[in-house]
């Protein structure tokens, strides 16, 4: 199951929260390198929990997670942080941009924990903003940008370090359909460079644009469709 071609493997993953709430009830899925996967399902179906476990922000209650060929059970918390710093990029529905920072500094923040110098991080940030089409907005602050532009800054932050895995949790949730569509096609384009893309959405039209779709319900994957 952990062939070099897989980027992420979840084997019988269960996640329970205190109080006995089971967010995941035994999820097994393998995602290949450079694969683009949409995760769909009603709210409360465990989509976000699966994404945070894939993104190493949380450990499963039971089951095994592999990132590449590494079994995360054998990896320390500090190493998980290293994995996130170097190999995983997140995009959130709420953008989570720092209001006091310019676009370029927000993007440079995405590489802060790689240990790169500020100069190199800024250079990479400028390049990433160019790639998302915001080369003319480097010194704008979030409140000076539109919603779609803010999400593109957040995407630039996720991809500036050239991660192997990009995980996006409802990236279009706060956007109108036009800029939402723009953001998703941007993610498709960026991930085509070789990164694995996992994206949560409840928008069927967005999900239909993905070559693979995981349907979730009540903490389980109920359908695994490929185009």
């Amino acid at each position: 199951m952990t062939s070099p071609a897989t980027a992420l493997v979840l084997s019988d993953v269960v996640k329970e929260y205190p109080g006995g709430v089971a967010a995941l009830r035994g999820v097994s899925v393998g995602i290949g390198r450079s694969e683009q996967v949409a995760v769909v399902g009603p709210s409360g179906s465990g989509k976000t929990t699966m994404l945070t476990i894939m993104g190493t922000l949380e450990r499963p209650t039971s089951g095994v997670v592999h990132v590449g060929d590494r079994n995360l059970a054998a990896v320390s918390d500090a190493e998980l942080a290293g994995l996130r710093a170097h190999e995983i990029g997140f995009v959130f529905q709420a953008f989570h941009l720092q209001e006091a920072m310019t676009a370029v500094d927000n993007v440079a923040l995405g590489m802060l924990y790689t240990g790169e110098s500020l100069k190199r991080r800024r250079a990479a940030a400028s390049a990433a903003l160019e790639r998302v089409g915001l080369g003319h907005r480097l010194d704008f602050r979030p409140q000076q940008l539109s919603g779609g532009e803010r999400q593109r800054v957040a995407i630039a932050r996720a991809i500036a370090k050239r991660p192997k895995i990009i995980l996006a949790d409802e990236p279009t949730g706060n956007l109108d359909s036009t800029s939402g569509g723009d953001v998703v096609s941007l993610l498709h384009r960026l991930a085509a460079d070789g990164a694995t893309l996992g994206l949560i959405t409840h928008d069927e039209s967005i999900a239909s644009g993905f070559p693979r779709r995981l349907q979730m319900r009540d903490g389980e994957i109920v359908a695994d469709e490929r185009a």
């Binding site: 006091a100 924990y113 240990g115």
Partner: protein
């Protein structure tokens, strides 16, 4: 699924999450910069605490330095010779010959003897009841008493040749106050041992031996004539050459009374005064305690501000964790923020305290002194206490679950 290329790194070691020190400071400063007013106010708390403590230490040190300077100006080479007690507890008597003996000693620059006139008391008028002596004593003294003691007359002049023949008196500073005489202009008399004495002078306070302030001085010839005082000195003051004070002081007992050198006491008044000055210079514990309370309040302020900051910045904390920050990175970031606040507060407090001391010293015309230990200890204490205050919020921030923090 795509094929893996030679750049496949899945078996490669995991990159380390790092936060270089420079970036840490940049991050912490940026965190404070977005909340300037709050940062300023919480640093102010520490500054006031440290400032109060530095001022307490500085003001006492300045006052002490001033006192020591005054003592130095009066000279530390003054020695006093007094009769001690015999083996059986009786008071010794200094031989009359001791005065010329001491005057002839090597390295004795000047000397003066005092003879107690125990039979006489001083009153403003004969109508004052005899019991109301006001604690004023009468002494016979040589003409050069003010010179040897490093004092002078506040009004009039000291005893001179005329006083050897006529009943004239000079009042010590406190004695003059007790008798309610503040100047000698005109014809001022005191009723001294049933005889009217003319007051010819009032002395300034004698800092080196304040017991003389409550005395009234007359000349020895008059004391011998009117009160039958025997020429046994009750106290001899002398100035030794500056570098010979120890040698002179050890030779004084055998010179004063060759037969009973044990019955002679030699002391150096400046020693006692310096010890007293040192004791006076000790900052009062109460004031220092108040400063400590202010500092504690400042530290609580920092803790409070950081706790609020952690609550407000939950999403930032979650984001940083998602971007690869370890728990340690988060706690160190918040700890650094409070450490910076504390360091700024400590340094500002040092300046504040030093400034207060300077103002005090200027208005009192005293030397400006802030002890070296305060220069180092004050900012260090502020830094340590403020950092300690930031410890709990920092750990709280590190314990936040990243997914919960991101949900905000």
């Amino acid at each position: 699924m795509s094929l893996t290329g030679p750049e496949d790194l899945s078996r490669a070691p995991i990159g380390i999450a790092r936060l270089p020190v420079r970036e840490l400071f940049g991050t912490a400063l940026a965190g404070l910069a977005t909340r300037r007013l709050r940062a300023f106010l919480s640093a102010l708390g520490i500054a006031i605490g440290i400032g109060a403590m530095v001022a307490v230490v500085g003001v006492s040190a300045s006052a002490q330095a001033n006192l020591l300077a005054e003592i130095d100006a009066l000279g530390t080479n003054l020695l006093t010779v007094t009769p001690g007690q015999t083996f059986l507890g009786n008071n010794e008597v200094l031989p009359a010959a001791s005065v010329p003996m001491i005057a002839h000693m090597q390295h004795v620059d000047s000397d003066v003897a005092i003879y107690q006139v125990s039979v006489a008391d001083v009153y403003r008028t004969p109508l004052v009841p005899a019991a109301q002596t006001g604690g004023i004593g009468v002494d016979a003294a040589g003409e050069n008493l003010p010179q040897v003691l490093g004092t002078s007359t506040a009004s009039g002049h000291f005893l001179d040749a005329i006083a050897d023949r006529y009943p004239e008196a000079v009042l010590g500073a406190q004695a003059a106050q007790g008798l309610q005489i503040d100047q000698v202009g005109g014809h001022v008399l005191v009723y001294l041992g049933r005889t009217w004495f003319t007051v010819v002078g009032i002395l300034e306070p004698a800092l080196l031996d304040s017991t003389l302030d409550s005395e009234v001085f007359i000349s020895l010839p008059v004391a011998e004539r009117i009160f039958q005082v025997r020429p046994h000195p009750s106290e001899i003051y002398l100035r030794a050459s500056l570098n010979e004070v120890k040698g002179v002081s050890s030779l004084l007992p055998p010179t004063t009374d060759p037969q009973h050198p044990d019955g002679v006491q030699v002391s150096r008044p400046s020693d006692a005064l310096e010890a007293r000055a040192a004791a006076k210079g000790q900052f009062t514990t109460l004031l220092l305690g108040l400063g400590a309370v202010a500092l504690l309040v400042g530290a609580i302020g920092i803790a409070n501000i950081m706790v609020i900051s952690v609550l407000e910045r939950r999403s930032e904390i979650g984001l940083r964790r998602a971007l690869g920050a370890t728990r340690r990175h988060i706690s160190v970031q918040f700890l650094t923020e409070s450490a910076i606040l504390a360091a700024i507060g400590g340094l500002a407090g040092l300046l504040l305290g030093a400034g207060a001391t300077e103002v005090y010293a200027l208005t009192r015309h005293e030397p400006f002194v802030v002890p070296l230990y305060a220069l180092i200890a004050a900012p260090a204490a502020g830094f340590a206490i403020g950092t300690l205050a930031g410890l709990y919020p920092a750990l709280k921030a590190a314990r936040l679950s990243p997914t919960e923090a991101l949900r905000v």
